[in-house]
């Protein structure tokens, strides 16, 4: 059956049987996962066999996810695009878990001296931004909830990847993003109220 809007087939793989189809799909997922870890590899502190292992585990878990969600595929895209998405997501999740096991800085560290560097402020021009970042620090302490503050400290100050924080807080990407989204909005409002920045959202 075709999706009338996209023109793609709704059910390109049999839910059961068709071992050769699933074998072929697994091969594709391994290729996509390997290519994705290679694409991200230069920015990761992961190399060699560990990267290869990460790709194979991501492909295996993507295949499990696809098997479980096959009935949810509605033909709104090509089937392979839908399937590749799970391989990419699994690579992200595996990388997040890797950083959780091997954090560059303690996840609960709190070093405010990192803040200027996080936003690229020039140390030589500290007189120009000292008041702004002081106000930002106060707003983080005074305006945010404990949860928003913890997420801000981890992601912004400590540079913890969001997918790593997901594991640390036993949460999900959407919830952590929403927490940071609300924190950003509050901080902008606080800085705007004090005249440090413009008030448009």
């Amino acid at each position: 059956m075709l999706n009338q809007r996209s023109g793609y087939r709704r059910s390109p793989l049999p839910a059961r049987g068709g071992r050769q189809h699933w074998g072929r799909l697994h091969e594709l997922l391994v290729r996509i996962a390997r290519r994705e870890v290679a694409r991200r590899g230069s920015r990761l502190r992961v190399t060699g066999p560990e990267l290869e292992d990460l790709a194979y585990r991501a492909a295996a878990d993507a295949l499990i996810a696809i098997t479980g969600k096959l009935r949810q595929f509605r033909g709104e895209s090509r089937f392979t695009t839908w399937a590749y998405k799970f391989a990419i997501f699994e690579v992200s999740a595996k990388i997040g878990r890797h950083f959780w096991r091997h954090p560059a800085v303690p996840l609960d560290a709190e070093d405010w001296d990192r803040l200027p560097d996080r936003f690229g402020f020039d140390p030589a021009r500290e007189a120009e931004w000292r008041d702004l970042l002081g106000a930002l620090h106060r707003a983080v302490d005074d305006k945010l909830t404990a949860r928003q503050r913890a997420v801000f400290i981890a992601i912004v100050l400590n540079g913890v990847p969001l997918d790593t924080l997901v594991i640390e807080l036993a949460s999900n990407r959407n919830a952590i993003y929403k927490t940071l989204f609300d924190a950003r909005r509050k901080l902008r409002a606080a800085l705007a109220a004090d005249g440090h920045i413009g008030d448009e959202s």
């Binding site: 996209s6 895209s77 990419i88 997501f89 992200s92 929403k178 950003r184 909005r185 800085l191």
Partner: protein, 73 residues
């Protein structure tokens, strides 16, 4: 980008931002449209609004697009 601009960009929130859950749910549809050269900004404005602010989803989307482009080469 200097510190002021980067901080300003970080604090800027877009009400059209669909969030990670919806972005991840529709990413394959959007990727196929982008790969086909369709005018997706008008059709799904909340998706690019999210990608501009969410590093992990933008990274995933870049990876998915790269996979599709790799497929055609």
């Amino acid at each position: 980008m200097n510190g002021w601009a980067e901080l300003d960009e970080f604090l800027r929130t877009d009400p059209r931002d669909v969030g990670c859950a919806q972005a991840m749910e529709m990413m394959h549809i959007y990727a196929d449209l982008v790969a086909a050269g369709a005018p997706v900004q008008e059709r799904y404005p909340g998706f690019p609004a999210h990608l501009r602010a969410c590093g992990p989803c933008a990274e995933d989307f870049d990876g998915l697009l790269a996979a599709l482009r790799d497929e055609t080469n």
